[in-house]
């Protein structure tokens, strides 16, 4: 039964996913391509590309797309595939949600306790490092262009990067406006 399998596999992916969407990709690939054969490696690569360039958390994007494709491949009609997509997406969410709610409740209640205060005292600086690391790892050829082979793309990317950084940091431009502006710039320049 494809729907039960989707529910089980994506619940598992949800609960074992620490550290955000990118960390989840290898897990999804293992389950969806290697173990269940719901799609080929090529199809999976396409999904990753689509997920990166569409709004929303990458994990949800992957789950939605996989749910849809797997049900279509199993020979069901489109409406069933839409159901499969929604089911897979919700399966990723529900277990971490319950866990998160329990921890949040505890923290909101014990917010001022000494233990909680000293733990968060070191965790807060660490989180800044984690986010900086995520940004550093995204400064790649895929996102900025190869400096040697596509020097024009690379220069434009660096300029857009600095424009976006200064705009949001110093001039407090809203991130949505910044994304729209840079998208427009890409359309005009390239």
């Amino acid at each position: 039964m494809i729907f039960l399998e989707l529910f089980y596999v994506f619940s598992k992916i949800g609960i074992f996913n620490f550290g955000g969407g990118y960390a989840m990709l290898s897990l999804i690939q293992d389950e969806v391509v290697n173990k269940h054969g719901w799609m080929t490696v090529n199809e999976f690569t396409d999904i990753v590309a689509v997920s990166q360039s569409t709004p929303g958390p990458i994990g949800i994007n992957c789950a939605t797309y996989t749910g849809y494709t797997a049900v279509i491949h199993a020979g069901y009609p489109t409406w069933a595939a839409v159901l499969g997509a929604v089911l897979a997406s919700l399966s990723v969410i529900w277990l971490p949600f319950i866990l998160m709610i329990s921890i949040s409740r505890y923290l909101i209640k014990h917010h001022d306790s000494k233990t909680v205060t000293s733990i968060f005292g070191t965790l807060r600086p660490t989180i800044i490092g984690l986010i900086a690391a995520a940004a550093l790892m995204l400064m790649s050829k895929e996102n900025f262009g190869d400096p040697k082979q596509e020097s024009f793309v690379f220069v434009v990317s660096v300029v857009l990067f600095m424009f976006a950084f200064v705009g949001t940091r110093l001039f407090k431009v809203h991130p949505i406006i910044m994304i729209l502006l840079c998208g427009l710039a890409g359309l005009v320049i390239y």
């Binding site: 997509a85 998160m100 910044m178």
Partner: protein, 177 residues
């Protein structure tokens, strides 16, 4: 407008404009939830980041459930989590149905070539503002740098950084008292 509608619309908006995954969303979420709506203080927002990062599940969804819970209990949490997920489910479903035309569109690719560096800047920008809010002093300024180096240069999982920092803070607190 009821508070549930407000939670729903705010997180649906955040979900709709987040390209490149959870971290890119931090900047926008802070703007909406802390500065505009004032649902949380800057400090509470950072604590939420910490919890979301150290529990399993999608970062953005975790953030939304925690903030929703804080405002309106479990029902608020459910509304927040679903509102964050909904825009991507709809967008991906449409793309899955019409994928080929989307993928091969030259103009779509051009737009994204401009957007990608912007997304990286959006992730990096809040780090500098956060330094003040995380109460960085001459004693703990090295923590974020060590964490970033461990992850990028040595491939250490962020989970380990969180665990070590949490245990370190706990032990330090005990020793101090």
């Amino acid at each position: 407008m009821s508070i549930y509608t407000d939670i729903f619309l705010t997180f649906a908006k955040i979900g709709s404009f987040t390209l490149g995954g959870g971290y890119a969303m931090v900047q926008m979420m802070e703007k909406e939830v802390v500065e505009k709506k004032q649902w949380l203080s800057h400090e509470e927002f950072m604590d939420t980041l910490v919890v979301a990062q150290s529990t399993p599940g999608l970062f953005a969804i975790d953030m939304a459930s925690h903030i929703g819970l804080k405002l309106k209990g479990v029902r608020g949490g459910i509304v927040g989590a679903l509102a964050t997920a909904l825009p991507s489910i709809v967008a991906i479903l449409l793309i899955a149905m019409f994928f080929q035309t989307f993928k091969d569109n030259v103009y779509v690719e051009k737009v994204f070539m401009g957007v990608r560096p912007c997304v990286v800047a959006l992730i990096l920008a809040p780090c500098f503002g956060m330094a003040k809010k995380a109460k960085l002093t001459k004693f703990n300024w090295w923590i974020p740098i060590v964490a970033a180096v461990l992850i990028t240069a040595f491939g250490v999982s962020p989970i380990w950084c969180i665990l070590i920092a949490g245990v370190g803070g706990f032990v330090w607190g005990r020793l101090k008292n």
